[in-house]
Subunit: 464 residues, 2 copies
């Protein structure tokens, strides 16, 4: 019924509408919902946000009529706007203002059905078959899988421990000669600035400024995909000997106040004087992936087009998702409670990061390997010096990668080979061997066995 | 992380995975959910499914580990499959088997993010710019709004009180001459067989068989968009004099057992020997539009491609939606409770249909108007004999339509003009004046005032 809105706009007060064919909210078979959620009280010195102590929050069918809330089941489960609900949108726009404070006036947010859906819509809006997309040399495979069927091509920018290398980005663009084979000069830069997937790299502030300047120079739109923004960690430090005694490193406590006050890196959105950044935030890593909800922040002209695209595809995120998250974030936690929850996640995932880095240091063969402790996100990216393989002269990097992968499996460990993060046509030309490992959800005991198994596999393959 | 699945497939038992980067379910801030829902007991003689008496159903985080359910918060809120959750998918596949029993072997279902999203995906899969889509002459405007930006064109098939006219469909296809201007012969027929939007027409069984035969003759895929399937009504009968006394026709009681046993019309899916039907079902009219969830039933080869399309766009419907609806349908109501709910909706919307038809009979000027009481859906479609307008000779139908629309607004009634359901390029050539009105959600008192206002407006415009 989205198509009817323009007609309704003509209506004035006291009109009795026989127009949009929405069902009666009387017949929504959900009269009330209760959610058991973590308490919002500020934790004292420990990292815990008391995740086992819960509060029950209630949503009624007509809370907005009763004055119990500004949002309710009848609104959330009815047809909605292409922007997502105004109530949740307002809260998230405030959040964006608090966290990123975009330095131009007419920015807007829109609720999306997750970053994968948002990325699909953005490519449909801004690209034509044959166009090139600028991406980090190794990137999230769904980027290729989404863009390839649209006929897009990829220009991979080289990376170091701090992500995309600005000089290479500038070089690629400055030397781009438009012709039939090479195609148009790229306009869209896709970047994961925090805890990049797969490399785990996080761009420091100065690098972000430099990349932004290059985007200005070549008039690029920056597509900032930043699901790990709130999973930023303090620098890795080796565990104390006391901590090493502990069988469960996740129980180590940490000063909460210190974490909540630690500044986060500036997003591209926060540096965006020109309105050339389309920032994609997601609830997937900070609330739950199953919400299938995120939000995009961009100039209002782009957001307006995004709304139109929503109206003829996903319409808006699920009302169940919107209601559950609105009740938690707006009606219960508020911005300060949300911030405490995010600090809690930083601490928890930080302990997992520490644990895996420590296990790598203890169990992996340093003489053929290199890694940097990640300062954000879910991943550690380990590099293997494949040329030290005893039969390196007769093998390709892809073959060595496969041998390590197979050996790790036979030692009971699954890691993702680096080639999975290259577009298919680049796999054959790869000259390095990487593996991506996640510490996000594996139980501590399993993590230890898995890293030990990988170490054994590598020693076997390299005859160490 | 969908891209990782093919790698995981290689894994064997006892593998410790450091692979897909899903967050830990420990950090989903929803530990339990309760839903207040209508009781599932069969009503006795009245239409009520006791909508005011409620039961509380509970979902826990790890119900599937405890044996309390086969689905839980941890599963629903984690990353999922492009098919939707296997648990809900199984229930809906059983439902499709019970209701439609498709007469071929390899049909499959997939959970979608609603029919608008499903339609968008189907057009992306099956059309190229310039292609023609066969549609009912007047149809749901989102169809145009979705298809036009993809470069599609429309071939409108004429309709009567029973929907699309088979002879005209055959004629259009038989006389199609492929050339540059005319384009390729259409392959895709979009049809709303029950309570068509906007005409309210419902195709009888024999017409469906005839259209299916024409689809076979011209090798069409039938895109069956059927959100009103379960809102089928018995034939309209004028209210008794006793009922007319009643100020609230919605309180009239009806024999529930009679309704629940009344057979529904056969869907195209149930006639589909060839596997040429893509059926779209939606929860929007039978549970709630905000769920943003539906399901498509089609040959497995098409569903497999649909899954791939989901993986790079919406991924799957919201886990909150899936969980709420799974708890209600599977864990609480079961198939028989669901059927009772659907019968309840038939009765409730049927009473609304009766009420509006009765009001039309009482308040609209019969001498210039024509309508058929709808036998399904949310809409009544009224035709106005515009040639009886006192200045008909100097006016176009579009002008008369506008005059009636404006006059109705000035009498406090909003109805949707028929031109809103034509593609823009056909509006100028329209030769009939229609209005669509909905009885789905307007309160009885408002409905009465609105129809009376419309009657006054028409009498004023036509100087009656």
């Amino acid at each position: 019924m989205q198509g009817m809105h323009h007609i309704l706009d003509k209506s004035v007060v006291k009109i009795r509408s026989l127009g949009p064919g929405a069902p009666s909210t009387d017949y929504f078979p959900f009269y009330g919902m209760d959610f058991d959620v973590p308490l919002s009280e500020a934790p004292k010195t420990d990292c815990e946000i008391a995740p086992k102590a819960t509060a029950k929050i209630h949503a009624g069918k007509h809370d907005s009529k009763n004055g119990d809330s500004i949002y309710d089941i009848a609104i959330a489960l009815q047809y909605g706007q292409g922007t997502g609900s105004t109530q949740l949108l307002k809260f998230l726009s405030e959040h964006v203002k608090i966290i990123h404070d975009p330095p131009y006036k007419n920015w807007r947010c829109i609720l999306t059905a997750g970053n994968t859906s948002a990325f699909d819509i953005i490519l449909r809006m801004f690209t034509k078959p044959g166009d090139y997309l600028l991406v980090e040399e190794y990137t999230y495979p769904t980027v290729y899988e989404t863009a390839l069927p649209m006929g897009l091509r990829f220009s991979g920018i080289r990376m170091d421990d701090f992500g995309m290398i600005p000089a290479h980005l500038d070089e690629v663009l400055s030397n781009w000669s438009e012709d039939a084979e090479k195609g148009k000069k790229p306009r869209l830069l896709y970047v994961i600035p925090c805890g990049q997937n797969p490399s785990g790299a996080t761009q420091p502030t100065e690098r972000r400024r430099e990349i932004y300047r290059i985007a200005q120079k070549h008039d690029l739109l920056i597509l900032e995909d930043d699901p790990y923004y709130f999973i930023q960690f303090p620098p890795y430090t080796s565990p104390t000997s006391e901590e090493k005694q502990d069988t469960d490193l996740l129980s180590v406590s940490q000063n909460f106040a210190e974490v909540i006050d630690r500044p986060l890196l500036p997003s591209y959105l926060s540096l965006d004087n020109d309105g050339r950044v389309l920032r994609m935030d997601s609830f997937s890593k900070i609330i739950a992936p199953g919400a299938r909800m995120g939000w995009v922040t961009a100039p209002e002209q782009i957001v307006e087009r995004f709304v139109r695209a929503h109206e003829v595809s996903v319409q808006n995120p699920s009302g169940f998702s919107q209601l559950a998250i609105f009740k938690l974030l707006h009606d219960y936690w508020g911005h300060s409670g949300f911030k405490r929850w995010l600090a809690h996640l930083q601490i928890e995932y930080g302990k997992r990061r520490n644990m895996m880095v420590d296990l790598c240091e203890r169990h992996l063969p340093h003489e053929i390997m290199y890694w940097t402790p990640p300062s954000a996100g879910f991943f550690i990216w380990i590099s293997v010096d494949w040329k030290q393989h005893p039969y390196a002269s007769t093998k390709s990097p892809r073959e060595v990668e496969q041998e390590i992968y197979d050996s790790a499996i036979s030692h009971g460990t699954l890691v993702i080979p680096g080639s999975a993060f290259l577009p298919e046509d680049k796999e054959g030309r790869m000259d390095k061997v990487f593996f991506r490992m996640t510490y996000a959800s594996v139980p501590p005991g399993t993590m230890q066995e898995a890293i030990r198994g990988l170490g054994d596999a590598l020693r076997e393959v390299f005859r160490l």
